[in-house]
Amino acid sequence: MNMRRIINICLAVFFLTACEKKLDLSPTQSISQENALLTEGDVKVTLIGAYDGLQSVTLYGGDIQVVNELLGNTDNILFTGTFAGLADIHALEITTQNTFARDTWIQAYNTINRVNNVLSALDKVTSSPEERDRIEGEALFIRSALYFELVKLFAKTWGDGDNNANPGVPLILTPTAGISESDYVSRNSVAQVYAKVIEDLTRAESLLPTSNTIYASKGAAAAMLSRIALMQGDYAAARDAANRVIASGEYSLEGNFENLWYLYMNNGGANPAEYIFSMTVTQQDGANSMNTYFGISIGVAGTGGRGDCKILGAHLNKYEEDDVRGEFFAQVGANFYTQKHLDIFGNVPVVRLAEMYLTRAEANLRLGTSVGDSPLDDVNLIRDRAGLDPLPAVTLQNILNERFLELAFEGQALSDAKRTRSNWSGNAWNSELLILPIPQREIDVNSNLVQNEAYD
């Protein structure tokens, strides 16, 4: 037998059975970063990705509002949930490992990176200048809204000491392609963060269209600007921004307060005309974490939630008799829950027109002006909708009280207490405990970050 032949065949079998090409495998659900931002279509889907980030439960999906509501809020809420991070936030026993502080921080910057990718590729948008403006405006809106929320949660209040010296949060304005020394950033000052946010939102307002379906519009940018100005005590700017939203005619007050809620159950998920900006939740996408913690099943199909946030009698007693908002609580067992967040798939409101009226009223009153309308008319508009008799005259306290009740459990009360220098459930407005810690994982990985005083 011809041994050489056999050996040759064996060797052939042996060495030819595989080739190196079999090692070049590619993922199927992902694409390489080099091919991700080449066309206008790529930029647009990345912008959608930024909205997706903004909608995370850790951001405007609800946690930002939940944390603002729960932070030390023992006058209004009994928190009995088992999420230790929230329990600690409620009891002001926050540790630097707090998972809610950590996750909101991480997701905010993740979303900011998505926005920065969009902004870096605007030159790919060539179909029309309007389209390019819209995309840039929406991207700037998302980034600015996040920086404003971050600086409120993680830094001292505007005006609590020196805004130029107080550490805010790092401003990241370019996309990340790899990790280098420059990614080990420091905190910008509170003043720098506010300045950048105002600059970007102002530009966004000028770029955005008046109507823009569920996406950020001119009105959304103006509404956010009014909040920022109010926070800074710049009442003229707050008043004018709020007035621009109202005067645009794009939004209108819902006649029936209850119709602002249960949007998925009763309204097919569509927003009322009062919503200026919100996060859309569908069965397939998004979640409403306001619902998760504030919601509870009241035996009506479509309602649900963990029932962690029980509303105290002390809060319920703050409403006047016949106030429909005071009746808007559900009793389960011995406990009361706000009805604003019972709808499992309800959209999460970020800002609605009623707030603009109250902002305009407050600013006008403080400035002694009547831009748009008088403070009394604006407040009575809101009271009327709540089924209350009009006030004969209005004081600042009336307006702040109306604002507190109208926007209760929507994540605004803590900011209002801080800017009006009011006591918050027994804590001073500028208590260091009412600020979240910079997440420990971030301090551990980046020594350039300074921790907030209460946690240092």
């Binding site: 199927t28 026993e93 990241i172 649900g304 990985v445």
Partner: protein
């Protein structure tokens, strides 16, 4: 397509190979008889092999055999379990009597791409044989390694059936990549990572019938493992299935049935104790706030209304009702298993066939597992130079799963419900909390609603197939080609009725269907060469391996079902979610090994593997993994061979490089992912940072060992010392989150494992009454040497930490300092660094943030041991097997923060909380109960406890009926036995089971966490084994 072409290519080549060869050898027939030297009785089933070939047969009942051997055959090897293997020259009529003895040294051990005689091994391989695997009430074979192989640490994690177990060979040598060993079944690296989507990780090895297994070899050191290159750093487990034997066809059947219950319970407060302590905690708050307890707004009034609400008004100071919610989580399980095995054959063709049905009902309500498995193996000598064979198995495994430990629907979490709440809602007669009754009448979601009105069933179909052809090319030179596949098809179906609304937020029910399909194929092609030249013997292997695995997943979710009578997605009014995805990987490898033996004394082995994989960056795709080892059989030297005491002594040493590539697929690429849609519009987002330099982890391992036997090997054993240095760790390196990313996979950092292993086997009594003992123990010390400043945390409360100078995953917490006897405050040591001295002054809860964290425990055991005693007398046999671990700690904060927390929350409390501080001067470890106040429930060493245990893992008593009786029944064997698993546990652990790893938290670093984790079952089985 390409794969098929390639397959066809080499099959065609083999056909050519057959055609090219002509048969020239002349065979001759020989006969013989094998007897037992101690009593002269014929030996049935002894194996007779022509040395250096696969030509073999087994002896008949009368001890005779007949074998056709090649003309040039010179030596026969005769072996049988329990006897010394003997070599005799080939003659026409062979007569051999075998000597009993500890024959472990002459056993054939499976190694990578071959086999070797134990005596001549230079690497460290632990072997577990079929008798240690068979008929245990364990769904997966890896659990059979527990306590049986030195240096292999197995933790069953939880009592939930079929879930993943932790297996660590010589410590944890990775942080972010997998630390589980590579499982190779009959030459095919099989899919062993979790494919399930619900609850904790499942163990894909449950699809394998343990009774089909002939042996498991654990390749522990680099000398043994380096032939598996970039995948061997965590050890390699070679699983070899049973094959047919020549001789009379043997048929055996085994039936076993038994009962099981959870090993341990935790003492909780009774209804009255709970109420008393609740009032005590509320009273503190009233006292603190200066509130009159009789005030309707007082905390005491709140407590009263709480008790009233959650007991449906039944609770009063005098009521005796007590609803033990913990008890409801457990049930009497049972276990039934039937096996039939058949094997036989002649000189040309041998076969093995088996069938098994196993049905296990778990000890936690709602948990069960069934397996139906069949296997057929055929070996055929096609010509005198060509052997072919085929094995294929098919199994179906059905598991009703339980949710993860962290879920409210985990039945064990019912322990958190106060015993004041009745099981049944008196208003509806349904389980408390079932709508239309009040859903909130249980403090948390009542998990038994999900047992009653929801289910999640996983069903997997698994096919392991393997075909081989082995050709003799020249004397001593063989070529073997293997093609194998592992096909895993799995479906999961879940349905949660509307009654679960509180837990699912799906008021009209929700259902899901998932599928996973993993197609994994592998081919090994290699030459073996064997040559004796004078006193030298050379064995060489040269070959290649290619493996590719592709996994496809799909998923659909539906909501709004007409009623619980409709549970398929077809009936869901809304198809609310769905997806499909795919991932794959491939490895291409070449390997070579040379074993050299001189004068039966001096041993040398060299091996090398080259690996390339799709998982690594373009810049570092190929890696080389060499190993070298030497052995010296001192007992063959003249100066020792005369010794009456010493019968065997071998010194061996090895050094080599192995890798770890288990980091998932595509970690090296910079990626965008298209999962970022919003409100119906499609979106994309950046998802991963690139690392084109990414490659495997590299582990350099040194091993030195001593194998010894005394008194004709009645005392034998092994001693090993090893050092494993792992560098270039595949690490999810934390990066600033401000970059938009949280981590990047990099090759960063070093860790080290050092340890010793001791194996001691003794035959204490060898007469009619036989007693043998087997002890193995191992100590591993892991240390993270360098982490480039990384901080990596995990586990419950992020308390597990990876830090330089410490073992992987130590518990890093504030240190609990007990209770201030004056005021009942929980105290913590400050532990701030004061010029190198730790400040041991204390702070209370208000100062907690100023207390520094320190290492307060280690989930990795110091010593892991197993201890087996076997006794036999006449027909009786008794086996007693203990195993245990020492020196590890467990984190009980998961449940402790709620249930051992002096009323931080309203959960039912463990009874030790009754010792909570009440009066000034009182010395206790439990702080004062202050309703909803965090007085000591912060993360601290209060919740780090010792996890040492010794467990009577298995006790089996069997009786073989005498031959006279058996023969009268026309049987060859009849054995009855009773066997107990986990009968007795010695431990100080306060919760359920010290053998724990909470499934929802489990990772490489998050070990030793308990989170309402189900304890192991105690199982008692009665079995009967019949041979025809």
């Amino acid at each position: 397509m390409a794969a098929r072409k390639k397959m066809a290519g080499w099959l065609w080549s083999l056909v050519l190979l057959f055609a090219a060869t002509t048969v020239q050898a002349q065979d001759r027939q020989i006969t013989g008889k094998i007897t037992d030297r101690s009593n002269g009785s014929p030996m049935v089933g002894a194996t007779v092999t022509v040395k250096g070939t696969t030509i073999s047969t087994a002896t008949e009942v009368d001890g005779t055999f007949r074998l056709s051997v090649p003309a040039n055959a010179k030596t026969l090897v005769i072996s049988s379990v329990g006897f010394q293997t003997t070599e005799v020259p080939v003659t026409e009529n062979v007569s051999v009597s075998l000597v009993t003895g500890n024959d472990a040294l002459s056993e054939v051990v499976v190694v990578g791409y071959g086999s070797q005689i134990q005596r001549e091994l230079t690497g460290n391989i632990a072997r577990v044989k079929s008798k240690d695997i068979e008929n245990l009430p364990l769904p997966s074979v890896d659990q059979a390694l527990q306590g049986k192989a030195a240096g292999v640490y197995v933790n069953s994690q939880s009592g939930k059936l079929g879930q993943a177990v932790t297996v660590r060979v010589r410590g944890n040598s990775s942080i972010s990549a997998s630390s589980q060993p590579l499982y190779v079944l009959d030459g095919v690296p099989i899919t062993s990572d979790d494919q399930s989507s619900y609850g904790g990780a499942m163990n894909p090895l449950i699809d394998l019938n343990p009774n089909d297994i002939e042996s498991m070899e654990v390749l522990k050191d680099a000398a043994a493992g380096a032939i598996y290159g970039s995948r061997a750093a965590n050890g390699v487990v070679l699983i070899t299935t049973k094959r047919g034997k020549t001789g009379k066809t043997s048929i055996s059947a085994n039936f076993q049935t038994g009962v099981a219950e959870a090993t341990r319970r935790v003492p909780f407060l009774s209804a009255q104790e709970y109420a008393q302590m609740f009032f005590q905690a509320a009273g503190y708050r009233d006292n603190e706030g200066g509130i009159d307890p009789n005030d309707p707004d007082s905390w005491t009034s709140y407590a009263r209304s709480f008790l009233d609400y959650y007991s449906f008004g039944q609770w009063s100071e005098t009521s005796t009702a007590n609803y033990d919610w913990q008890d409801k989580a457990f049930q009497k399980g049972n276990y039934n298993q039937a096996d039939i095995q058949m094997n036989g054959g002649n000189d040309k063709t041998k076969f093995f066939a088996s069938l098994q049905y196993m049905d296990q009902i778990g000890t936690i309500v709602g948990n069960n597992l069934k397996r139906l498995a069949g296997r057929l193996t055929v070996d055929h000598a096609a010509t005198n130079w060509l052997n072919v064979g085929f094995t294929s198995s098919l199994s179906r495994t059905t598991t009703r799963r339980l949710p993860g430990d962290n879920a409210f629907s985990n039945p064990v979490q019912a322990s958190a419900l106060p015993n004041i709440t009745p099981f049944t809602d008196p208003e509806t007669g349904l389980l408390t909390g079932t709508p239309p009754g009040d859903e909130f009448r249980t403090l948390y979601f009542n998990p038994f609603i999900s047992i009653e009105y929801a289910r999640y069933v996983q069903q997997s179909y698994r096919n392991f197939s393997n075909a081989y052809a082995q050709a003799k090319i020249l004397p001593g030179l063989n070529f073997r080609s293997e093609f194998g596949l592992d096909l895993l098809a799995q479906q999961e179906e879940g349905y949660w009725g509307k009654e679960n609304n509180r837990n699912t937020s799906a008021p009209n029910g929700v259902g899901e269907y998932r599928s996973a399909f993993v197609f994994n194929y592998n081919t090994n092609n290699y030459f073996t060469y064997n040559k004796e030249i004078g006193k030298s013997n050379v064995e060489a292997v040269l070959g290649m391996q290619f493996q590719k695995s592709r996994a496809n997943y799909s998923y659909v979710e539906g909501r709004d079902f007409p009623s619980n009578a409709y549970q398929k997605i077809a009936s869901a009014a809304t198809k609310s979610d769905g997806s499909s995805s795919q991932t794959e990987f491939s490895f291409l490898s070449y390997f070579a090994r040379v074993n050299y033996k001189y004068d039966d004394k001096y041993l040398l082995s060299l091996s090398l593997r080259r690996d390339a994989s799709s998982r690594f960056g373009r810049n570092s795709r190929n890696g080389y993994f060499p190993a070298a080892s030497v052995g010296w059989i001192l007992s063959e030297e003249n100066f020792l061979s005369k010794s009456d005491v010493l019968s065997f002594l071998k010194l061996r040493a090895s050094y080599g490089i192995v890798g770890n590539a288990e980091i998932g697929n595509f970690p090296q690429l910079g990626l965008y992912i298209g999962d970022a849609g919003y409100a119906g519009a499609a979106g994309q987002r950046p998802s991963q940072i690139a690392n084109p330099n990414l490659k495997w982890e590299t582990t350099k391992q040194f091993d030195i060992g001593l194998d010894f036997g005394f008194f004709n090997n009645r005392i034998s054993g092994e001693l090993d010392y090893y050092v494993k240095n792992t560098s270039g760790l595949l690490l999810n390196v934390n990066v600033p989150a401000t970059s938009g990313f949280t981590s990047q996979v990099q090759n960063v950092g070093k860790l080290e494992n050092k340890g010793i292993e001791i194996v001691l086997n003794t035959q204490n009594l060898v007469g009619a009454f036989k007693w043998s003992t087997s002890l193995n123990m191992a100590r591993n010390r892991g240390k993270v040497v360098d982490l480039n400043g990384q901080v990596i945390e995990g586990g419950v409360g992020s308390m597990n930490r990876v830090m330089e100078g410490q073992p992987v995953g130590v518990f890093y917490t504030v240190e609990y300092a007990g209770v201030d006897p004056q005021n009942g405050d929980a105290l913590f040591y400050r532990n701030t660094n004061n010029n190198g001295q730790l400040d041991k002054s204390t702070v209370n809860a208000a100062g907690y943030n100023s207390a520094q964290r320190v290492v307060t425990g280690d989930p990795n055991p110091d010593w892991v041991f197993g201890f087996t005693n076997n006794f036999s007398y006449k027909g009786f046999d008794l086996s007693v097997f203990f195993n245990g671990v020492t020196g590890n700690q467990i984190n009980i904060y998961g449940m402790g923060r709620y249930s051992s927390a002096n009323f931080r929350f309203e959960d039912n409390q463990t009874r030790d909380q009754l010792a909570a501080w009440t009066t000034p001067g009182q010395i206790t470890d439990i702080p004062q109960a202050r309703l909803y106040r965090n007085n000591g429930a912060q993360i601290s060493s209060r919740y780090i406890v010792d996890g040492d245990f010794i467990r009577l893992r298995n006790l089996t008593l069997g009786y073989n009926l005498p031959t006279s009786v058996v023969n009268r029944l026309k049987l060859s064997k009849l054995r009855v036995y009773v066997s107990g698993q986990n009968l007795w546990t010695i431990t100080n652990y306060p919760y359920w089971d010290p053998e724990v790893n909470a499934d929802d938290f489990d990772s490489n670093i998050a070990k030793g966490n308990d989170f309402y984790t189900a304890p192991q079952p105690r199982t008692i089985l009665f079995g009967i084994n019949v041979g025809l």
